[in-house]
């Protein structure tokens, strides 16, 4: 439903697939609420006028029908209606969760009072986000200080951005144009000025725009440089190939090539899937999930690395994951 953007907009523009489902539910709820409100107002106003003091209407006892049977009836009806509404809303939400995994991944970092976005090819943006129309998008978001919230009204989406954790947001832009980006969780003095614009372009324009961006190294390539400069290679081997005892490394450290997506047996018997969160935690809190058969010797990098650097290392390790085995 396009926005009634005449003189005064009464409905926000619908620029994403999610907007369709949300608007459908809202219209249903609007209709139902309007009906119930009308029913109550008619009952109250009707009875108030008809049975005002001194009016000739017939009083007498309440007819047997209107005793507790009616009460039980509408209670059950209200309960049923509530359950139906829940079922629809829940199924709509579950439907959105099952989107396909090959979405365009963009890393978003929020910090007190600005948004930073980084595209897979390294293009960086401040308080702005360019997206191609028609392609699903997955935002991997984290915060450098307090809780913020990524909110684009036109897409009907909002997701808090937490410090110390990666939160995800999937959506599917369907309309081109420029849309507001707000921070929706109170985050301090300039919370009201932590704004941005999301620009949705035709895929062709997007590709040209991205190519025109200063060719910052891809996240993964920058990650590889960091992997060496920070000394990770010293223990985990140059390509993350890991080091068996005595192969040019003073310390035994687990193989990292092909790690992403695999299940990792831990020292305390648990088995954990090596996803982004696991890679992040192992860098910042190595003592937490120690791989089975290894001593917890890795120093923690918490406080030494910014969020950006952690994201690059994680991107690098994920890329090593996609070509299993041939790393050194």
């Amino acid at each position: 439903m396009s926005g009634l953007s005449g003189w005064v907009p009464l409905w926000p523009p619908a620029a994403s697939a999610e907007a369709g489902t949300v608007d459908a539910i809202v219209l249903l709820l609007l209709g139902l609420s309007g009906a119930v409100l009308l029913l109550v107002l008619c009952l109250v106003a009707g009875f108030a006028i008809r049975y005002r003091r001194g009016s000739p209407a017939k009083r007498g006892a309440l007819p047997e029908l209107v005793q507790s049977e009616v009460e039980i009836g509408w209670t059950a009806a209200t309960l049923l209606l509530a359950l139906l509404l829940f079922a629809w809303a829940a199924s709509a939400q579950l439907g959105e969760e099952r989107t396909q995994s090959d979405a365009l991944e963009i890393h978003v970092t929020a910090r007190q009072w600005m948004w930073k976005a980084q595209h897979p090819n390294g293009a960086r943006e401040i308080n702005a986000l360019h997206l191609p129309r028609g392609e699903p998008v997955r935002l991997l978001m984290t915060s450098e200080d307090v809780i913020h919230s990524f909110f684009v009204p036109a897409f009907r989406i909002k997701q808090d951005v937490l410090p110390g954790r990666v939160t995800q947001l999937r959506f599917h832009p369907t309309e081109t144009g420029e849309f507001h980006l707000f921070c929706a969780e109170f985050c301090g003095t300039l919370h009201a000025r932590m704004l941005g614009t999301v620009t949705v372009m035709e895929p062709g324009d997007y590709a040209r725009w991205r190519a025109a961006q200063p060719e910052g190294d891809g996240l993964a390539r920058e990650g590889a440089a960091l992997f060496v400069s920070l000394g990770c290679a010293g223990c985990h081997g140059a390509g993350g190939g890991g080091s068996e005892v005595g192969v040019g490394a003073t310390v035994r450290a687990p193989r990292l090539a092909g790690l992403y997506g695999r299940d990792v047996p831990l020292a305390d018997g648990r088995v954990v899937r090596a996803d982004e969160a696991y890679l992040r935690d192992s860098i910042l809190q190595p003592g937490r999930d120690v791989a089975a058969g290894y001593a917890p010797l890795m120093p923690s990098f918490a406080g030494l690395l910014g969020e950006g650097e952690v994201q690059r290392l994680v991107a690098y390790l994920r890329e090593r994951g996609e070509q299993p085995g041939e790393g050194r």
Binding site: D268, Q285, G287, R288, S300, A302
Partner: protein, 211 residues
């Protein structure tokens, strides 16, 4: 005895039995709210322990088990003394009641003194989760953040209980408050709650990670 009852009777009650019933009902509801206060802290403990099992196990080994166990013993004994004192007061056994209440005060102070020494020892061993914190495991700082908060709040509640019991026994001894007054049962129930909270804190703070 009837002069005693009349002195203990308060507005708007007509019978002392009914007033005592209301006093106990009221204090039990208050103890329920105190339980929820400590439940809030225990939820923080449980959530952080689930997020950092290794850190909490390592920290559990750092707390001083001797102090913890002795303090539990002291508090259990004070609970015994309080129960005896409260029942003796209700039965009008003046000498037993006053001696039992004195024991409660003594044991309560002992607990606080031992707690003081324990805290001093913890500080010397750099267990305050600030700059010079000794342990490196993640989550250890959270364990000790909660360790200091929970033991401090418990000690505060215990000190409050000591003040109330002290004031009541002073009045009982001077005779300005009749022994039949429900206040003795109310103070006893509050004291037992402080003991029960410690009974729950003991395994969480001292026994974790010992195996």
């Amino acid at each position: 005895m009837s002069g005693d009852v009349a002195a203990a009777l308060r507005e708007p009650w007509d019978s002392l039995r009914r007033q005592r019933e209301a006093a106990e009902f009221g204090v039990w509801i208050f103890l329920g709210s105190e339980a929820l206060l400590f439940a809030g802290l225990l939820l923080a403990f449980a959530v952080n322990r689930t997020l950092h099992p290794a850190g909490f196990a390592a920290s559990g080994r750092e707390t001083d088990i001797v102090f913890g166990t002795v303090n539990t013993l002291v508090l259990l004994t004070s609970s015994l003394a309080m129960a005896v004192g409260s029942e003796a007061a209700r039965a009008g056994l003046r000498r037993l009641a006053l001696r039992a209440l004195a024991t409660v005060l003594l044991l309560g102070l002992t607990f606080l003194v031992l707690k003081g020494f324990e805290w001093a020892k913890d500080l010397r061993e750099q267990l305050w989760p600030g700059a010079g914190f000794r342990l490196a495991e993640p989550g250890a700082r959270l364990f000790f953040g909660l360790y200091w908060t929970m033991t401090a709040l418990h000690a505060l509640h215990l000190a409050g209980g000591l003040a109330v019991v002290g004031w009541l026994s002073w009045q009982g001894w001077r005779g300005t408050r009749p022994l039949g007054s429900p206040a003795f049962q109310v103070a006893a129930l509050y004291w037992h709650l402080v003991d029960v909270v410690w009974i729950l804190l003991y395994p969480l703070l001292y026994l974790g990670g010992r195996a």
